[in-house]
Symmetry: C2
Subunit: 433 residues, 2 copies
Amino acid sequence: MNIPQTSFPRVVIIGGGFAGLAAAKGLENEELQVVLLDKHNYHTFQPLLYQVATGGLEPDSIAFPLRKRFNDIENFYFRLAEVTNINAERKEVSTSIGSLSYDYLIIATGSTTNFFGNTNIEKYTMEMKSIPQSLNIRSLILENFEEALLTSDLEERKKLMNFVIVGGGPTGVELAGALAEMKKEILPKDYPDLDIRLMKINLIQSSESILKGMSEKASEKAEDFLIKLGVDVWKNLRVLDYDGETVSTNGEDHFKSSTVIWAAGVKGESINGLEAECIVERAARYKVDGYNRVSPHKNIFAIGDVACMNSEKYPYGHPMMAQPAIQQGRLLAKNILAELKGKNMKPFIYNDKGSMATIGRNKAVVDLPKWKFQGVFAWFVWMFVHLFSLIGFRNKAVVFLNWVYNYIRFDRETRLIIRPYKNKNEYSFKNEI
Amino acid sequence: MNIPQTSFPRVVIIGGGFAGLAAAKGLENEELQVVLLDKHNYHTFQPLLYQVATGGLEPDSIAFPLRKRFNDIENFYFRLAEVTNINAERKEVSTSIGSLSYDYLIIATGSTTNFFGNTNIEKYTMEMKSIPQSLNIRSLILENFEEALLTSDLEERKKLMNFVIVGGGPTGVELAGALAEMKKEILPKDYPDLDIRLMKINLIQSSESILKGMSEKASEKAEDFLIKLGVDVWKNLRVLDYDGETVSTNGEDHFKSSTVIWAAGVKGESINGLEAECIVERAARYKVDGYNRVSPHKNIFAIGDVACMNSEKYPYGHPMMAQPAIQQGRLLAKNILAELKGKNMKPFIYNDKGSMATIGRNKAVVDLPKWKFQGVFAWFVWMFVHLFSLIGFRNKAVVFLNWVYNYIRFDRETRLIIRPYKNKNEYSFKNEI
């Protein structure tokens, strides 16, 4: 990999998401060599992927070049590489561009879509964890509308205009809301010769409420917002299968749809090589101790979505969101530096700053630890927090400009099929990184 | 295609580039049915493709959704379709989504890269006529740098960092300048462990001067700018072949390079079906009369790059640029309306507003009919004209914001490999629309 061996200990970080970046930042300009590995050359701001998928933002404005982030840092190396194996005994990772030894290893690989073993669903539904996947969804929505124009078969047209989103978490809710706004403001103008009433947006949730991680009030209000926007919300309904045409469920309702988006589950993006006992089954996350250490390995840590730290308050690990990832990354950097200086590490305590979701124009729900509110003000808070969290001034400015424009003009102008999806949806294309 | 037959005559326009859009605009809200066909759902502002390729702009900001452009126009239809054949006798076009009859046909398909029959060059070089192709170039540049980091073979590294641009027209010159600025400002920071002196940018021109269509002064000054930026300009050198490794020429100089961009020629994007005599050989443009009519067909017109109108001043047709395309589109719309009202058509006279090219920061050349100037002021004029010509307020604003940011920060922040190219460069991927 052409990375020099120095007298400094080498910290290898796998993944440039929220967790990995926070750890790397904490280790800047110390007596350490830091190597960051990622399969993309950019950081993805995942909370706004749904706006890329629905034509509200350009992909470049929610991505930030990883090299730029660190290009003035001494002893820092970035390599564009996919890690394929961890060898804890040899203290070495294998990657697509060769192997690399480490003194400390930080696994910050994040999460990937969980299809719970259903290969049909994996094959036919769309996922939205990366920028290329979001562009696939954008293309498919628009391509289906173009096709709906052409068919004279009413059933076929209905199927092309029927959208099913599986999973009532923040991703599913935000995407359903954005689609509903496209239905209201954009698509009737763009497709005046289509009967827009045929367009249906279904949000399917297996349990009895949406936004399960949030307060009851937030969940109710979000559902209310969605229904007002014209989304059909299905609760206590479990999707069993999808053959590319029909979504079958455990209830009476089945859905003929050409576009099914799977937002019903995530799992850790774990890597081959660490012993089986390190992995929490099903969730595929690494079991870590209070210092994010993947025991029994003293020098291997996992942070963010891929880490599962059990505590009294969080018996199944912390929520798979940006905040725990950032906080764990920051603390781990401090802990590694402390250990190198012979000091004690501090255990991780999650500072829950709250959570929020946006449903549409002037419609959001916010749960702060001491205050829960919904509506216009929540929507402004949501926007401010997300704008503030984006990396880079240019990104902030471009996103802000797009939001102001979209707000004033009731528009989403990046509805471009730049990366056509249809007739290419072989598995290989779908999973392109 | 599900387009209603009305009592209005139907005008079918193939292509939503500068020419097609100008014609469509001129036919708005008249007693006509207008059908616009394009293989993309967006208009591409081709003059700025090189900035997408070099990470200065996001693709979405130089594209505009075609449906949005016309979504408040009566009797206007857009279809996402590729036209495969023209049947003049039956007054019908065949497309990827079925056939369509016309009363008037306007061919505005633009131009495509001309490899002059060299299949090796077609296979191994990069072209830059569309957004996906520009993104391929952006990815390849960055991927080659990532790879250059990894190899310990100096010759291999030199090859990966050696860029060859064939063709000294505006495209080649602007791209060479932008690459030179990346070399100066961006890449040394992003790749501090690479010896940036190994990076070479070669611009190869077969004739004795670059920017042949412009004034001698502009050509000389542009060359001067390029050389100051560190570009190696090769004149009177003809590229004969490229096998994916070595560019061979008719001179003594050969170039080992992993990235060869072919900007040495364009030809009309003609369509099967019109008789051979309509086509100017080699250039593949339709021979048209003074009214842009493809004789002997009274109701078939060609405008823009794909049209070749011989005149005393332009014996080989008008230059393949935006201005003739826009002017021909506008006049043709008026002429069709005139004919429908029994009035006479007006012959086309090209109003040459001049031409310009930018080489880099504060460096451009502008030839106006009565004034030729170079340098900082030319650069501001270039920017103003391009900003003003972009379609859509949002695009103008985003591009402006990026330019201001890039100017102040000496940066180009969209250096993201969102669409990986390497190891995928089979012919099929390369030519994806």
